[in-house]
Symmetry: C2
Subunit: 239 residues, 2 copies
């Protein structure tokens, strides 16, 4: 069979779930599971089985009716679709607490995203080695990016420097950015930006906590035993 052409666009919601399936499938493969049903995979990933099937159907018809999916083959197909057939080295901007923690974290490189470089603006940080990589000066970012043909950048500077960092990354040729600061950054059209904001996640949880508290107060009489709070977060389970 010929390798599939770039098929119809995959819904963003599906793209966000494929990495989860991929991880679960990888774990199952490790422990010797050769075949898996949508029901089983759904259970592992904490989602609905129909969703799993629809998600996987965007990759093609890779299941066998009455049987399920071949784990190894599915892992290969998802990796191919996500573009994980080769490594994507990343450059980290900001070698502070977070930058160093990320650089030293193996789960990064293990998943195909080795740290290809770290830069900082502070001369006292430049030259030190974190996670086996020497910190270079921000001015050298272009060389760092081009030397390893890096296309993904991670921003771990203080929030106030985030836009600067983004501009530097884009100027250096990076086309995807993962922003760990709480600052909203502006980038030219065609650059992808992902954001991880701790405070936002906690505030979402606080909202649900508060609703729970209010609900409990409003139903002092009714709630005897089974607490049945709506609780359901954007991502993640709530069994």
């Amino acid at each position: 069979m010929a390798a599939q052409r770039s098929r119809r666009r995959i819904p963003e919601a599906t793209v966000a779930r494929l990495p989860v399936y991929l991880r679960m499938l990888g774990e199952q493969f490790e422990i010797g599971v050769a075949n898996i049903s949508s029901e089983e995979l759904a259970e592992l990933a904490g989602v609905n089985a129909a969703k799993v099937r629809k998600d996987l159907s965007y990759l093609g018809s890779y299941g066998t009716r009455g049987v399920g999916y071949d784990v190894e083959f599915l892992v290969y197909q998802i990796r191919r679709e996500l573009g994980l057939t080769h490594d994507w080295p990343v450059v980290i901007v900001g070698a502070g607490n977070l930058g160093q923690a990320l650089a030293g974290y193996n789960g990064f490189g293990d998943r195909g995203f080795p740290v290809g470089g770290i830069v900082d603006i502070d001369d006292s940080k430049v030259g030190s080695v974190v996670g086996g990589v020497r910190v270079r000066h921000l001015d050298e970012i272009k060389q760092v990016v081009q030397a390893r043909n890096i296309s993904i950048g991670v921003i771990a500077t203080p929030g106030a420097a985030a836009q600067d960092a983004a501009d530097s990354l884009v100027a250096a040729g990076v086309t995807s950015i993962l922003n760990f600061t709480p600052t909203v950054i502006n980038v030219p059209h065609g650059i992808s930006v992902g954001k991880v904001d701790l405070a936002v996640e906690l505030q979402i949880l606080a909202y649900h906590e508060q609703r729970r508290a209010n609900a409990a107060q409003g139903s002092v009489v009714r709630s005897l035993s089974g607490l049945s709070i709506p609780g359901e977060s954007r991502r993640g389970a709530s069994a």
Copy 2:
């Protein structure tokens, strides 16, 4: 005016954006801006103005037509809605690299989520002080949680211990969990779970990078100057 009752449920997508508006409004208030239009706030938050207005309309009719929104009042209303009128101390499970980085990070407490406790299973970690808090043993988690009436827990253990950590948190009385491990955890009904998974974010970016690469390859002749790649990530901008 009497304090509003727990009004109609706010859409989850809106709940996820309110913290962003809140941060932007806080910054504007700091620099002396007393009033703001949906257009201006939208620009700052990197979203569409109509969306801002609809989102804010769930809180009530707090704007003034022809004028905009009173920044201070809006900050108060969003904080009230999100349940940020008081602090929510959190307990961190796992005092490794990440746990320590989080505990030492001020942007945590600054936003109303002080670290109320840290626990670890490793005796060599217990007793050490990180971020001004003494690490206690996992066995004492219930005391830690109840002493400060904590309802939010953060999991920063290795993935293999995540379910254990979740079980311990729930047993101790925590009702919301933020999970930093790549493991999918199961919790009883009524417990909210948020998830932050670095690898997932990077893999989503890789998908877009790969599409970009494929698209470029497919249009070698056409793409002369203006790169007009679809690029748009789930969360975050792509101006």
